[in-house]
Point group: C2
Chain length 202, copies 2
DNA sequence: CAAAACTAATCAAACGATTGATTAAGACAA
DNA sequence: TTGTCTTAATCAATCGTTTGATTAGTTTTG
């Protein structure tokens, strides 16, 4: 792994654990086994590292969404695939997801947030398109699309961020097997919710 | 307003906007119209200020715990009342709600974490009891209760934290009137969702 | 081919600014 | 006068960033 990449991975780890402000460039360099100056050499600034990490991740998710949207399956199957994909992705790295929401909920560092929000809203549009197309084709009944998206993403986000609220701390989330059980339960719930909520009334 | 109080209010405002790490004691003093030394004089440290703010809020939160559950109305009406109450409460002070989740997700400051979690889980139990009772009485069809709660709270939290994702930035959230429109839209969506999802199949 | 020129990568050291905290001295009410 | 409040000045530590020098590898040139 080259220095550039190891800086990215080290920074990601520390940002997740300690937050953006709580992570110093010195600690990033130490964790990456690199010199401090390399951070500015490759990314211009600490903020540049953060933006790079975020856009990297968001683009990967966007690519996944687009692939699903272009699949030749029914709107409901698409939606279920999106739910699965989103849940899988977030459960694969919950601490990153928490970090993203944490740092985005701050009103400061405007240019950085504009960039990231732009990438997110591109993804939202694909999501929205899937549901809207389903409504237009008559597969779904008409609903508040953006609110439905907020529900799906909000539920996944909520369960991933505080799994204890759901399991009542009977499961050990640090255990991959237990985490998988919770993830499947979440996916099932959301699929059923989507099915019930979107089914056209007869 | 005395200096002590104005420091608390100034710190709360800045913590909400900039996060804990992003807020300096100097900026708190400036915002409060007080000298820097007053912060350490009254609260011992920056963290002392933070702890004071949180305990203050949590106490107020616990005092206003709903008695909806004891109302003599149908389970569905109870649930809708809970949805309304929860949305109202969070929309009343979104920035504080965001800050709470932000600092909570960092897992630093463990004593605070436990305190807040305790307050939240008390509310969860009321919530859960309402839905469970509705299922037992046959008003609701059997569903994954905890997941449903995660959906409701997750949706509200999601919309409150990033309203732009829903409105597409066509509304000005800092405008109380626009914020009210969004809140009503959210409540309507969730009521409809609950109705559709929980309705027993014939 | 070999010398010269250039390039990207890396480093230790230092920059000025800012951090949270403390001090000693003054102001003011009781 | 005593004890509470308030101040400006200052502390050491740490922050993100920049610097100038050095290395190793590649290109260009004579």
């Amino acid at each position: 792994m080259d220095k550039r990449t190891s800086i990215l991975r080290a920074a990601e780890k520390l940002f997740c654990e300690l937050g953006y402000e709580g992570t110093s460039t010195r600690s990033i360099a130490r964790e990456a086994g690199a010199n401090m100056a390399m951070i500015n050499y490759y990314f211009g600034s600490k903020e540049g590292v953060f933006v790079e990490i975020m856009t990297e991740r968001i683009k990967a998710f966007g690519a996944q969404l687009t692939v699903i949207d272009e699949d030749r399956i029914s709107p409901m199957e698409k939606l279920k695939k999106v739910i699965e994909g989103y849940a899988e992705r977030i459960f694969l790295n919950t601490s990153f997801h928490k970090m993203m929401h944490r740092e985005l909920s701050l009103a400061q560092r405007p240019e950085m947030y504009e960039k990231i929000k732009g990438a997110i809203s591109t993804n939202l549009e694909v999501f929205e398109h899937i549901v809207t197309a389903g409504i237009e084709s008559g597969d779904f009944r008409p609903v508040d699309v953006r609110m439905l998206i907020a529900t799906i993403m909000g539920t996944i986000s909520n369960v991933a961020s505080s799994p204890g609220k759901v399991t009542g701390n009977t499961l050990d989330i640090s255990n991959p097997k237990d985490r998988d059980i919770l993830k499947e339960r979440l996916i099932n719930h959301l699929k059923e919710l989507a099915q019930t909520f979107l089914e056209p009334k007869k």
